[in-house]
């Protein structure tokens, strides 16, 4: 039925035409119809920056509590897709979104959806570590504070830092600036900050691309760890990284098209599309 129900099919528009009609918007109906596995579903999703089309009819079902990797060459739209999940594209004046994106069966582009509330459920980690110029503690506590989850802040901060594998390194310097940490530590701080308010989904936009190999492998371990509790969607242009840490892989190629979306093993060992195989094996991109 849907692409993630297995089988070596590539996802394309016509293949999901038999999926339930989009006008059934109550979450029960959609979850019943699509199974409870997919937490994010995009249907004919298109994003434009002014006259430039950045995403072209994306259909994808992102499974719960797994790591979904988005790979593809620069400018292929993978980051744009990621940012359309928590409506960060709203912040770009010229960006325009068409099509549907469902989170637990609710179209997040409906008029009654508050992007602020959405982002509280879907956390985000960015390409370059971007801690606030505040203390380590205040960085992690920030999300808790804006989301009014101020009970036991100390405990929640510690938990988040532990889950981000940073606690042992910073527990004696919680009052020092987040900017004093190394790049890899800063990125784990940003991960702790994202998971502290306990979102359901974590979006990661090339979280290790600015880090050295040791810091990168720590982040990768962490991502696998996190997928036991969270749904993780990660953009990477490091194909080995995608192969190592993801359960599912989506390959975007030029023009903002999703060319293939399947189990990671399948994508890397036996892709359907010749272009995907060429890309995976480094013939272009």
């Amino acid at each position: 039925m849907t692409a993630n129900s297995g089988g070596p099919e590539t996802v394309s528009k016509h293949q999901i035409d038999d999926s339930p009609p989009a006008e059934t918007t109550t979450s029960e109906t959609l979850e019943d119809a699509w199974g409870d596995e997919a937490v994010i579903q995009s249907r004919d999703l298109e994003v434009f920056y002014g006259d430039e089309q950045a995403l072209d009819e994306i259909d994808m079902d992102i499974p719960e509590r797994q790591v979904t990797a988005l790979i593809g060459p620069s400018g292929c739209g993978k980051s744009t897709f990621l940012r359309s999940i928590n409506r960060m594209n709203d912040l770009i004046d010229v960006a325009r979104v068409e099509g549907d994106l469902y989170f637990h069966g609710k179209n997040v582009y409906d008029d009654d959806v508050d992007p602020v509330a959405l982002r509280r459920k879907i956390g985000m980690v960015f390409q370059k570590p971007n801690p606030f110029p505040k203390s380590i503690f205040d960085n992690v506590a920030y999300g808790l504070r804006v989301q009014d989850q101020e009970d036991n802040v100390d405990e929640q901060v510690q938990q988040a830092l532990e889950r981000a594998a940073l606690w042992d390194e910073v527990k004696d310097q919680l009052d020092s600036s987040g900017l004093d940490l190394s790049g890899g530590q800063q990125q784990r701080l940003c991960i702790a900050r994202a998971i502290a308010p306990d979102p359901e989904v974590i979006l990661m936009d090339e979280p290790a691309s600015a880090l050295d190999p040791v810091a990168t492998s720590k982040i990768e371990d962490l991502v696998e760890e996190l997928s036991q509790e969270y749904t993780v969607v990660i953009v990477t242009h490091n194909m080995q990284q995608a192969a190592r840490i993801s359960d599912k892989t989506a390959v975007f190629l030029t023009g903002g098209r999703l060319v293939e979306f399947d189990e990671t093993n399948k994508i890397f060992n036996n892709p359907e599309s010749q272009r995907v195989e060429d890309y995976i094996t480094g013939k272009f991109g």
Partner: protein, 307 residues
């Protein structure tokens, strides 16, 4: 490529690089003009002030509350009434300019879309280009009548009118410099906060303003320093009666307004009134110079580090 196909010799009409050296001296000379002027101004001020203090004790100057340098019997040389007048105008104008200017800056930097920003910011900067004497007339012909409408006892010249008009005058300075500081906060910080589910108001007040605080404070200090030195508008609006009063509706005289009064005419060269100009001028210079240094210090000491 053969070796004779390339010509690396100096142009025949530029003997010995003379052109470049000449340009060097011209540019250096121009730079020297500003530096030399600054030095000369300080020398003149200090020299005149020394003449003044040879006749008036520094203690009297700094502590007496009577400023009447041209009184024939029992002249007073206490600078405090003038400093007080300047303080009233400065504090009053800061009370106007800091809230309005800061909120304008937040609006321009965080809320306004590109189109609005492109219209409003140049408009604000036009406000900064209006001659200050025009502001003075604006105070006399508009602000003072409005004040008199609410407080009919108010005289033509009053501190409140001067403070308000100077406040309006320095709003562009506060908003423009603060906006520059806020705009230079990288978007990655805003994205981090938005990604955590912060509202625009939370992003503005909890992330952008704290991250640009040093630039904002520096803008305040520069604007206040400008208010201290402001002359024509306060001379017209606040009056020429040197006194220490707590009522903003009273007439006051600032240091600058006194200098206009004396400088425009009737004090003969060498008289004590004339010499007092230099003492006041030096006092003003020290005040604004200290504030400008303070502003630079704050900016470098608390320079934002974002990454």
């Amino acid at each position: 490529m053969s070796s004779d196909s390339i010509d690396l010799s100096r142009s025949t009409n530029d003997v010995g690089g003379l052109g470049d050296r000449f340009a060097h001296y011209v540019f250096f000379g121009c730079a020297l003009v500003t530096v030399a002027t600054t030095v000369a101004i300080i020398a003149v001020l200090v020299n005149g002030a020394l003449d003044f203090f040879s006749e008036v004790s520094l203690l009297e100057y700094l502590t007496s509350t009577n400023w009447s340098p041209r009184a024939t019997d029992d002249p007073g040389f206490g600078v405090l009434p003038l400093v007080w007048g300047t303080l009233m105008i400065t504090v009053g104008s800061a009370l106007v300019a800091i809230p309005v200017g800061t909120l304008t800056a937040i609006y321009l930097s965080e809320y306004a879309d590109q189109r609005v920003r492109k219209t409003v910011k140049p408009t604000l900067e036009v406000l900064a280009g209006i001659p200050t004497i025009v502001y003075g007339f604006f105070a006399l012909s508009f602000i003072t009548p409005v004040i008199q409408f609410f407080f009919p006892e108010t005289g033509t010249f009053n501190a409140a009118s001067g403070a308000i008009v100077v406040g309006v005058m320095i709003i562009p300075m506060v908003s423009s410099l603060s906006e520059d500081a806020m705009s230079s906060v990288p978007d990655s910080l805003r994205n981090a906060a938005y990604g955590l589910g912060a509202t625009k108001f939370e992003v503005s007040t909890q992330v952008v303003v704290p991250a640009s605080l040093s630039g904002i404070l520096a803008a305040y200090i520069l604007a206040i320093s400008r208010a201290i030195g402001e002359t024509m508008a306060v001379a017209l609006a606040a009056g020429a009666l040197s006194q220490i009063t707590t009522n903003p509706l009273d007439e006051v005289q600032t240091m600058t307004a006194f200098m206009v009064e004396i400088g425009t005419g009737d004090a003969s060269v060498g008289s004590i009134g004339y010499q007092s100009l230099f003492a006041i001028g030096l006092t003003l210079f020290i005040m604004t110079f200290t504030m400008n240094i303070g502003s630079m210090w704050i900016r470098s000491r608390y320079r934002e580090e974002y990454e």
